[in-house]
Symmetry: C2
Subunit: 206 residues, 2 copies
DNA sequence: ATAAAAATAGAACGATCAGTATATATATCA
DNA sequence: TGATATATATACTGATCGTTCTATTTTTAT
């Protein structure tokens, strides 16, 4: 069959099923069946289920960060506006409009630490790394936005992201991002960034 | 044996193991062995594993809310101070000092929605109800504190809680509560509540 | 065309899963 | 003492778990 396909398709299927049903609840057989791949093909590419989990999460990390940054940057605003736009992106995700109509089932990395609680487990560490990479991106935006304490602001925005994700997940609150956005506005103002609705509209207008 | 014991001990063991290792990864046999209870005793009290999960989460909801409220109220401050004290309580939890030295492994209810993603699943709904009850308590505090929009403030504090919990869990950040507390101060000020460190010290002093 | 590589089907592994059956023992309370 | 819970141990389902083995077929590259 097509060379770029088998292993890749296996990982993509794993991303989908692990994300929807969880890691322990998703058996190898279900992944194989859904992907239409033979069992030995899996074990030719991966030593174990754990390695498939890691591969799936690495793929998800790549996939998510690419989508997230592009969703933010396509708005074409200032760094301050992009920080705020990140919350609009979250709501798109919550509404199931982010990844080819796949329903929102929470953040795969938060969910991963729920099933792998030991901090030194490779899966848990991969989740922590994913969050670190996003935090780094937010730091860049916060710094470009002229925040007094860009590290502190980025950390705060990240915490608001996590809060919105969990609120959307647990309480089925599709608009949690907008609520978090208002809090972000207050925090950004405190960091010396102008976030008045007017100035934002002026940026967009004409 | 002691009447108040067998079923109760089973549920408490389930709370501990489900909380630490997750729901699907924790087999019935491990719970029975750890609790020192016969298998048939479990099925005399519970129809299925799912019902044990529900019982464990109900117990955890009770246990957690009682601890949380008492940890906040023992500070004896004003309603505004209690809202801020909630973040100190979180850090106690994160440090493993809240529940008889049991290490922090995240919020069992957030973790539950990670493993039961369907919103109408009884386990997921129980998790949502738990969060609703905490939000109700925060609304009471926000209202007593004289917040302009007590619903909005309570919602914001709740979101900061979730953000702190997830940040502590994923990134092993034991002090996430203190960071969230600073954000809460800013938000509360915006809601017309005096949260200057000075006024708080004045409340405590002497 | 031929050799090497990749993917296939299918059986089997031992372990564990949730749940049931049976039969014995231990309490509780009249 | 005797009747009635309640708990016990143990073995047993049938299903599924992750993983390995063997042997065959298909694809790729020379």
């Amino acid at each position: 069959m097509a060379r770029p396909s088998k292993k890749e398709h296996l990982v993509e299927t794993a991303v989908k099923l692990f994300g929807r049903d969880g890691f322990h609840a998703t058996g190898i057989d279900k992944i194989l069946q859904e992907a239409g791949v033979a069992r030995m093909t899996l074990y030719k590419h991966f030593r174990s289920k754990d390695e498939l989990i890691l591969a799936a999460l690495r793929r998800r990390d790549e996939q998510f960060r690419i989508w997230f940054k592009s969703a933010i940057e396509k708005t074409g605003g200032t760094p301050a506006e992009r920080l705020l736009a990140s919350f609009d992106a979250l709501d798109e995700w919550f509404a199931g409009r982010a990844f080819a109509g796949v329903p929102f089932t929470g953040c795969s990395f938060i969910n991963a630490t729920a099933e792998f609680s030991e901090a030194n487990h490779p899966v848990h560490q991969l989740a922590a790394e994913h969050k670190r990479l996003i935090l780094e991106y937010l730091r860049l935006l916060a710094s470009s936005a002229g925040a007094r304490d860009s590290d502190g602001l980025a950390w705060a925005i990240s915490l608001l992201h996590e809060g919105a994700i969990v609120t959307a997940q647990v309480s089925s609150d599709i608009h949690a991002g907008q609520g978090a956005k208002e809090i972000a506005r207050i925090v950004m103002a405190q960091h010396g960034i102008d976030v008045s609705t007017k100035s934002l509209e002026n940026e967009d207008a004409y």
